[in-house]
């Protein structure tokens, strides 16, 4: 976490510090929400639709979303497609490599719940939320580009509701080893 994350815990103790943190919340949440860099990886057919969303007709760049190949620099991970048990381990590692704050969107039925592979399937994980925390679920097989964008707008709403003080108190500085 950046330096800014620690500040509100101290400011809130000062009388009148609430105003400062509220405006800081606003600035930081706006910047987080309008600059979600997503990770360049896809797992199955949903990835094709994700590429279509990034291309000219639907253009993710309008929301300030560009892809980064490195998980360190990305804020958002689209789990786009069928997650097999074998792949789930890799997805988990990628999620751990992402720097906080990080968000996950489960795109399509397979990532939400196993999708068409929910019954009678030995290889597919029944929902990526068994492995990593998911913020927004988008149904569809695969979802239209508009659905994906609506999911992103939904996530932006969620980000804009966040409070720095929650971050500081609820989520302590993760003392994790960076793999």
């Amino acid at each position: 976490m950046g330096v800014i994350e620690k500040v509100p815990a101290y400011i809130e103790r000062i009388p009148g510090g609430g105003i400062v943190t509220t405006s800081m919340d606003w600035v930081l949440n706006e910047s987080r929400a309008s600059s979600m860099w997503y990770m360049l990886f896809g797992l199955a057919c949903c990835a094709i639709e994700m590429m279509a969303t990034g291309a000219s007709r639907y253009d993710f760049d309008r929301f300030g979303m560009i892809f980064r190949a490195s998980p360190r620099q990305s804020d958002l991970m689209f789990v786009a497609g069928t997650v097999t048990h074998k792949m789930a381990k890799r997805v988990k590692v990628l999620h751990e490599q992402m720097a906080e704050p990080r968000y996950v969107i489960a795109m399509g039925g397979c990532a939400c719940n196993g999708g068409p592979f929910y019954y009678d399937c030995y290889s597919v994980l029944k929902g990526i939320d068994k492995v990593i925390p998911v913020d927004v679920y988008i149904p569809g097989c695969p979802p239209r580009p508009e659905s994906l964008m609506q999911g992103c707008i939904k996530l932006q709403e969620k980000i804009k509701r966040e409070k720095l003080s929650d971050w500081a108190s609820d989520r302590p500085m993760p003392d994790r080893t960076i793999v």
Binding site: Y58, C112, N113, G115, P139, E146, S147, M149, K154
Partner: protein, 191 residues
């Protein structure tokens, strides 16, 4: 390769670089094709395969579904769950009708096999949620979604007992369903 050929290759290479610049430069001032989604939308085509809804009778406002379970049996991924019930008039109706949208693969088979204009795939697509449990749609939600959907009646009047033509392999399900319907008089009353 002689010196002249080398020179020619160099110049044609440099020229081709300029041609490349011209091609991209041509697109720079032109109008972008981007659809600005939250402000602009496509009108979805009539037969697009979006979220499944349950259709209601436009006059009475009741569900067209009479719980014949065909869609549930035909669903290749078992996304549909129906429990059958009978009302006081002896008509079948669905007590519960659940579609799990995380499992549904939007193949459209339920719409195809339905003989009562009860299920339809619509052009609706905005259904992202924060909680996975919200993606399991029950009867009321599906009915609400289907309120504003316009549809064309495809249900034929009750077939006259004429000599049947030789059944094709593709039609195998249809006669079977009809025999199921026949004893049920309520469906005809609705129509």
């Amino acid at each position: 390769m002689s010196a002249i050929d080398t020179l020619k290759a160099i110049f044609s290479g440099a020229w081709n670089l300029l041609v490349g610049l011209k091609t991209t430069g041509k697109y720079l001032p032109t109008r972008a094709v981007t659809l600005q989604y939250p402000d602009e939308r496509w009108t979805m085509p009539e037969r697009s395969r979006g979220v499944v809804v349950l259709l209601s009778d436009p006059e009475t406002g009741e569900l067209n579904c009479n719980a014949c379970l065909v869609c549930m049996k035909q669903c290749p991924v078992s996304a549909i769950t129906i429990t059958q019930g009978k009302n006081e008039k002896g008509e079948r109706y669905p007590i519960t009708y659940t579609i799990d949208n995380t499992i549904c693969c939007f193949c459209g088979i339920c719409e195809e096999v339905c003989n009562f204009d009860a299920v339809k795939l619509t052009g609706k697509y905005e259904f992202a949620v924060f909680d996975k449990a919200d993606l399991i749609y029950d009867k009321n939600k599906l009915q609400e979604l289907g309120r504003d959907v316009k549809y064309e009646r495809k249900r034929k009047p009750r077939p006259t007992p004429a000599p049947k033509p030789a059944a094709k392999p593709g039609d195998a399900t249809e006669p079977k369903i009809e025999t199921e319907i026949k004893p049920d008089s309520s469906a005809e009353e609705k129509a």
